[in-house]
C-alpha cells in the first residue's frame, strides 16, 4: 500500500474527496477546488524539474497553455473529450521534447534564460497563429460533453472528473520520485559531476525529466481549458509563467513531495482573499512572496520539517569537518 499511496497522500485524497461538500461552509466554491487540483497536477509535475532535479525552468506556463490549445484544437477536429485530452498531453510532450533538446545541455542561469526564451516564443506563436488560437480572445467554445454517458457540465461532476486524474497523476509522480529514475535525478541535483562519474548520461536524464514534466503540464492545461470552456494566452505570458515556480517555492517543493500542492492552495486561496480586500492585490501578493523567499526559503513544509528535526537526525558524531 505504501508503495502506491503513503499515509499523508491518503489524507490528502480524503480531504479533496469531501471538499465539495465542505467548501461552501468555508466560504469557498467548488470551482476553486477544481482549480486547485488542476494547478496541483501542474505544480507536482513541475517540481520534478525544480525540486528534484534542481533545474529552474521559468517558462513552463507555456506548456500549460499549450495543453489547453492542443485540447481545444483537437476537440474542434474530432469532438469528444478523451481524445482531445490525450492530444493535449501528446502535443505538449512533443513540444517539450523538442525544447528539451536545446535546454537539457544548459546549466544554471543559461538554463533559466533559455526556458524563458522558449516560453516567450510559444506565447508569441499563439498570436502569430491567431486564426487557430483566436489570439487575444482565446480559443472559445470548448465543451465538456458527456464522458462515457456521465454528464460533466456541472461543477461537481467535473470536480470529480479532475479528482480522478489528480489521483492518478499524484500516484504516478510518487512512483516516479521513488523509482531508480527518481533517484538518479535527485542525484543529479546533488552532484551532476558525481552522477556522470557513476556512468549516468545526465543530459539525457535532464531531457527526459523536462519532457515528463510537460506531460503533466499538458494534462493540467487541458483540464484548465475544459474548466474554463476555452483556451487563453494569459497563463503562457512571461508574468504568469512564474506562478508555478512560486507555488512550488511557497509550499516547499524542495522539502517535500506535497509542497507544491500546499503552495497551490495558498496561492489560489490568497488570490481570492486578497482580491476581495483590495484592487491592488498583486501588491500584497508580491510582499508575501518576498517574505517567503526571505524568511522561509524552503517553503511552508520546509519550516515544518525543520521544526520536527531540530538538529542532525541521525545517530552519528558531529557533521563532517573539512580537511
Amino acid at each position: 500500500m505504501g508503495r502506491w499511496t503513503p499515509p499523508p497522500m491518503l489524507v490528502m485524497f480524503g480531504v479533496f474527496l469531501v471538499l465539495p461538500a465542505v467548501l461552501p461552509w468555508l466560504g469557498g466554491y467548488t470551482y476553486l477546488g477544481t482549480e486547485v487540483m488542476i494547478w496541483a497536477i501542474f505544480a507536482l509535475g513541475y517540481n520534478l524539474l525544480l525540486g528534484y532535479t534542481g533545474l529552474p525552468a521559468f517558462g513552463h506556463g507555456a506548456f500549460f497553455g499549450l495543453g489547453a490549445y492542443f485540447l481545444g484544437l483537437a476537440q474542434k477536429a474530432t469532438g469528444g473529450l478523451w481524445l482531445p485530452l490525450l492530444a493535449g498531453v501528446v502535443g505538449t510532450v512533443l513540444c517539450g521534447a523538442l525544447v528539451g533538446l536545446f535546454v537539457a545541455r544548459k546549466r544554471g542561469i543559461y538554463f533559466a534564460l533559455l526556458t524563458i526564451a522558449f516560453g516567450v516564443m510559444f506565447w508569441f506563436l499563439v498570436f502569430v497563429f491567431d486564426g487557430w488560437t483566436g489570439g487575444e480572445d482565446g480559443l472559445t467554445g470548448i465543451d465538456r460533453r458527456a464522458f462515457f454517458g456521465f454528464p460533466l457540465r456541472g461543477n461537481v461532476a467535473f470536480y470529480y472528473f479532475v479528482y480522478a486524474l489528480f489521483l492518478a497523476a499524484t500516484v504516478g509522480l510518487w512512483r516516479i520520485v521513488n523509482s531508480p529514475f527518481g533517484h538518479v535525478i535527485r542525484a543529479i541535483k546533488q552532484s551532476e559531476t558525481r552522477a556522470r562519474a557513476c556512468g549516468y548520461d545526465t543530459v539525457r536524464y535532464k531531457w527526459v525529466v523536462f519532457t515528463l514534466t510537460c506531460a503533466f503540464a499538458g494534462l493540467a492545461g487541458g483540464l484548465y481549458a475544459l474548466a474554463r470552456f476555452g483556451a487563453f494566452p494569459e497563463p503562457m505570458s512571461l508574468s504568469q509563467s512564474g506562478n508555478v515556480v512560486l507555488m512550488c517555492l511557497i509550499g516547499g517543493g524542495f522539502a517535500s513531495f506535497y509542497g507544491p500542492v500546499l503552495g497551490v492552495v495558498v496561492f489560489l486561496v490568497l488570490r481570492d482573499v486578497f482580491s476581495t480586500l483590495t484592487d491592488h492585490w498583486m501588491l500584497l501578493y508580491g510582499l508575501l512572496f518576498m517574505g517567503v523567499i526571505l524568511f522561509m526559503p524552503e517553503g511552508i513544509l520546509g519550516l515544518v520539517k525543520r521544526a520536527r528535526r531540530p538538529t542532525g537526525f541521525h545517530d552519528t558524531q558531529a557533521a563532517a569537518t573539512p580537511p
Binding site: 523509482s179 531508480p180 542525484a187 552532484s191 556522470r196 562519474a197 548520461d201 573539512p322
Partner: protein, 253 residues
Amino acid sequence: MSAILEVRGLRKAFGGHVVLDDVSLGFEPRRLSALIGPNGAGKTTCFNLLSGFLAPDAGEIRFEGRDVTRLPPDRRARLGICRSFQILNLFDDYTVLENVRLAVPAMRTRGFDCWTPAPSLAEAGDRAAAVIRLIGLAGREHVEARFLSYGQRRLLEIGVALAGDPTLLLLDEPTSGLGSRPMETLRDLVQRLSASLTIVVIEHDMDFVLSLSHHIAVLHRGTVIAEGPPAAIRDHPEVREAYLGRLALARAR
C-alpha cells in the same frame, strides 16, 4: 604484459599555461600504480583526462585496446573506468546505501525505470551492501552522507567509485586527511583490491605509496620525469630533488 590503459603524448593547456606536456604512461592489469609529484605537477588534470572530465589538446588514451580519448565521462564509467575525487564529491542528502547503490551497474541499467521502487532492486541492493561491508561502513547504511565523519566520507568516496564494478580504478588522494584507523581500513582495502583490479592512485603519503604500489610514475611540471618500481623511484636523483628531497627537508626541520 600489455597495458590495460595506455596514454600517448597527452597534452593539456589552460589558456597559455601548459599543465601536461607529452605525457605517456602505461598501466598494467591487476597492478597498483601510483602517480606522484609535487603540488601543481598536473596529477589531477591527468586524472580528469583519463576519466573524461577534460578533453586533451593532443594525445591518445586507449583503454583495453580501445580509443577512449573523446568519450564522455559517463561512457568511460560504463566501460569500467571509475574514479574517486580529491575534493569529496558525494550525494550529501543520500544515505550511505543510496550513495553506493546509485553507482552499482545493476541500478544504472535500470536508470530510466520510472515505476519500480528503487529499494526493491534486490541485485543492486545486495551489491551495494557488499561494497559497504568492504569499506567498513556496515551499520551506517542509513546515515545520510553529510552526517558522516570526515574519515567515513573518505571511505564512502572510494566505495562509490568501487561500486561501479571498475576494471580500472582511479583514486585521487584517497588518504588525504585520514586518521589512523580509517587509514588502516583503506590500506587493507587497497591492498586486497589490487589483487583483482587495476588501480591508479594519486597520493602524497610516501609510506603508502612506497609500500603498496608495484609501479610509480613521477610527474613534475607537466611531464613524466621518472617511472619504475618503488625502489628505483626512491633512489632516482631527479625525483629526490623534485619531490622527496623537499619532503626530507621538511621532515628534518
